[in-house]
């Protein structure tokens, strides 16, 4: 395995040191073809404001075939390799591991020797994942203490349960199912952990048959999609506790635990309340030796003219905010919230995690608002804020506008034209669009998750408190 004399310079022992990392000069963005006619791509975007090609695509690497639907990708190694109990500090942060949510293939791109021109070096085939781990539909990738962790929506036959499996960080061989005892956990979606509390958390969406043709209204209204969090012992790999949000809530998605490993709390977004179409932000936290949750913010639906709404929403005469991604700054101070339905992009000060304070609000796209970007005030945009990434110093935020190929047309029937934007955050609170950064994504691809050079707010976890 390629190792070096000193630790990888992008590894930081704690969040405070990570926040001092140099600003990123480029970003990796996965983009998929919703028609599944041409291969998906891993794009390199110039985010260096001093560069003549600022805000433009520098390079694109192609998938090995069509129909992958590139999703929440990650690194082979990151700051958790400095952990004292499982030290591997001399492994390089080098490979991008990109799951194909629809194909169940996993593409591995090498960012050396030229980080601006990643090369495809390995493809994990669906058969290997099914045979060795019993899973399919890989969704999210995190580097961690035991290698590369991947969540998967379905079992080997495309049914349930979904779960988490491990990849060897050197050969990328599938090592097997992660769970030794999954308890009542059945649906899968996102996962992450509290390294300081030896706890892994998972969230829920649905099995492949429930999502691959889009959201099924009857299942939503019957509260049949995921609505629970699961807590596992990170090292014993055993289920510890389940928390059900209740029949009113559907789609419990992105898990953002505090970066400080001593803090036993995190934030998760619930996409839909069946009562009023609102979205909500929930806090999970440790209390009296158990995990508990509390709803800490609600984003209401906005009344709308049914003529402007897609068929699925007409009866409700309202636009749901559809909070489908959130991201927590590395210093655990600001939470960013993407409202894919209304087009709002919100910034909350979560210094007091139980009482988030709204400190910033922007609007772009949206099912009804179609809000423009400051660079072209007359050009209505579709799609809305979705996959969001925050720089390690918390000053720059990037997001794209596509959710998932099968769900995009349910809410944006006219088809989403992809874009990526950048927001500048005031360290004291507040934010604004960078008028120089609007990347109209070249079709037919739509951009999804972003990873920043050297690491970002959702790529690394830390073992040492700040």
């Amino acid at each position: 395995m390629a190792t070096s004399l000193r630790p990888d310079p992008t590894f930081y022992p704690n969040p405070r040191l990570a926040a001092k990392a140099p600003p990123e000069t480029f970003a990796y963005v996965v983009a998929f073809d919703p028609n599944r006619a041409v291969p998906d791509r891993l794009a390199v975007v110039d985010v260096d404001p001093a560069s003549p090609s600022y805000g433009r695509i520098l390079h694109e690497s192609e998938a090995s075939a069509v129909g992958d639907e590139f999703h929440h990708f990650g690194w082979n190694a990151c700051s958790s390799h400095l952990c004292p109990n499982a030290p591997h500090p001399h492994v390089e942060r080098r490979y991008l591991v990109v799951p194909g949510l629809r194909s169940s293939r996993i593409h591995v791109f090498d960012t050396k020797p030229d980080p601006r021109k990643p090369r495809l070096v390995h493809v994990v085939q669906p058969e290997e994942i099914a045979e060795r781990a019993g899973y399919s539909r890989p969704h999210t990738v995190h580097c961690g203490p035991e290698g590369i962790y991947v969540s998967a929506l379905g079992d080997g036959d495309g049914k349930g349960p979904g779960g988490v499996f491990l990849l060897d960080p050197e050969s990328f061989a599938v090592l097997g199912r992660w769970e030794l005892d999954r308890g009542p956990q059945y649906f899968a979606y996102d996962f992450w952990w509290h390294l300081g509390h030896d706890t892994l958390v998972t969230s829920e969406w649905g099995t492949p048959d429930m999502v691959e043709n889009g959201l099924v209204p009857e299942l939503v209204l019957g509260a049949k999609y995921g609505r629970r969090l699961h807590f596992f012992d990170l090292h014993k790999r055993r289920h510890l506790q389940e928390i059900d949000f209740g029949e009113k809530y559907q789609l419990v998605f992105e898990l953002r635990p505090a970066h400080d490993p001593t803090k036993a709390y995190g934030f998760v977004n619930c996409v839909l309340s069946l009562e009023d179409l609102s979205s909500s932000i929930w806090l999970w936290f440790r209390e009296n030796g158990k995990w508990a949750v509390e709803k800490v913010a609600t984003i209401p639906a906005e009344p709308a003219d049914p003529d402007l709404l897609p068929p699925v929403l007409k009866p409700f005469k309202a636009v749901p905010p559809l909070v489908t991604d959130i991201d927590l700054s590395v210093d655990d101070r600001f939470l960013y919230v993407s409202c894919w339905g209304t087009g709002q992009f919100l910034q909350y000060d979560v210094s007091d995690p139980r009482r988030p304070k709204l400190t910033g609000e922007l609007r772009i796209g949206g099912i009804v608002s179609r809000a423009p970007h400051p660079s072209a005030p007359d050009r209505p945009l579709n799609g809305g804020p979705q996959m969001v990434e925050v720089s390690r110093d918390g000053r720059r935020i990037y997001f794209t506008n596509s959710l998932y190929g099968a769900v995009d047309p349910q809410f944006y029937p006219d088809g989403i034209e992809g874009w990526m934007v950048k927001v500048e955050a005031d360290p004291a609170g507040g934010m604004r669009f960078d008028p120089r950064f609007f990347l109209a994504w070249p079709g037919p691809h739509r951009p999804h998750q972003i990873r920043l050079e050297g690491g970002d707010a959702s790529s690394d976890s830390y073992c040492y408190p700040s």
């Binding site: 704690n14 400095l82 109990n85 300081g196 490993p261 001593t262 040492y464």
Partner: protein, 208 residues
Amino acid sequence: MSEGLAPWLLVAGLGAFHGLNPAMGWLFAVALGLHRGSGRVVAWALLPIALGHALAIAAAVAAFLLAGAVLELAVLRRVAGVLLLAWAFWVVRRGHPRRVRVGMTTGAAGLVLWSFTMASAHGAGLMLLPALVPICFSGGVVPQLATTSGRALLVVLLHSAAMLAVTAALAFLVYRVVGVAILRSAWLNLDLLWALALSATGLWLLLG
């Protein structure tokens, strides 16, 4: 002591060398101290870490002595030499993540287990074999069992004391003075050095 001071110095020196390695425990003690906000936790954690290390050394030493009771010294040296060379190869190869059983919420028993596993996996005890030969096999035949065991125990204690002294000094230096930022620049890759030490030991046993 007919063998002279050299083997005993080697035993203590290897203890210091092992104590230097962050993967042998001082870093874990620092992290636990930072997590629980207390220098006393650093000190508390060092004891089970040193105990685990001592048990790993003792296990290797005991295995060597038992083998020495049934094998000719020349044969023993060859077997141990090959084992050490194989272990050196493994230490280089194992430099990537695998099963982790002990985390940041661990207690003393977990630390003993962790330290025992880390020292064993790194072949820490095997490195002591060149010192054991003159200390326990002087004259080429196994002397009285009681004498040998006593001397072997002394080897384990001396090695572990040296390891604990160095690892404690480093733990408190990093915890109290320099901070964990030092990891980014000063955490040198010791695996290669470690493998070289194992290989040299193996070759000495085979050829010496």
